[in-house]
Symmetry: C2
Subunit: 145 residues, 2 copies
């Protein structure tokens, strides 16, 4: 399914910026991009999508359920495709590498916990902070100090 079709199905006007940004996320190579990441990637390939528009489009795509907001690291938000199954994230505290993992047992348990407290679950955020200590990670850690 092309990004253009996706946008129409979502009830959004088909614009150049939205198509390029939706494509970026549909491209399987990328995930959890921040606004700045998106801006940088688009700047390399296309002229004239401003940072303000990137923020707006990310907001729009999130509002219609195409993207989902993540708070993996302090100080900024990232976005990922909002698939049916929500997966969780493992973040290296040293080199900031991010891995996704699926924990299929979670959702029901989380729902039960929410219900026990009289809440009705909307979604959850589980982030495991850990160090990966790969050679690349160590190199990066040194650079930062």
């Amino acid at each position: 399914m092309s990004s253009g079709t996706t946008l129409q199905n979502l009830g959004l006007r088909k614009t150049y910026a939205r198509i390029q940004i939706a494509k970026l996320f549909e491209d399987s190579h990328v995930s959890h991009l921040s606004a700045k990441d998106v801006f940088a990637k688009l700047a390399k390939q296309h002229e004239g999508i401003s940072l303000g528009t990137v923020y707006r489009v990310l907001g729009d795509l999130t509002d219609v359920g195409f993207l989902r907001r993540l708070h993996l690291e302090e100080g900024f938000v990232s976005y990922e495709l909002n698939g049916k199954e929500q997966h969780d994230h493992l973040v290296c505290t040293k080199c900031h590498k991010v891995l996704q993992f699926d924990d299929f047992f979670d959702h029901d348990r989380y729902e039960a916990i929410a219900r026990q407290h009289g809440f009705s679950l909307s979604h959850h955020s589980l982030v495991l902070y850990a160090s990966c200590d790969t050679p690349a990670c160590k190199k990066q850690s040194i650079k930062e100090n």
Copy 2:
């Protein structure tokens, strides 16, 4: 244990600002306070602790392990006492009420997941977003729209 003693044990100089802020968190009534929350609470009772100092002290107390940073809501950080057992949070998406809950089964599972991916677990963040729909919550939701 008084906050002064706590600070000394942590290797921090005993200053007025640090003692007041540590006390605020040791007082069992409060938890998950943002810098602005702390500033506001101190302003009522004590003169002359600047917002800059609040941020610095919160950072210091986090660095020595007395507090722990939380990212419960978008746009700002909150802090809570860093007890041995880490508990998780349930946040109302409408009125922003926060409840803590303990899920004692989690830690081992999280550690296993990290290990499976070659990571070594440091800590985790689990936040359940849900609506509480209490009368107070509904009142607040209306106010915000």
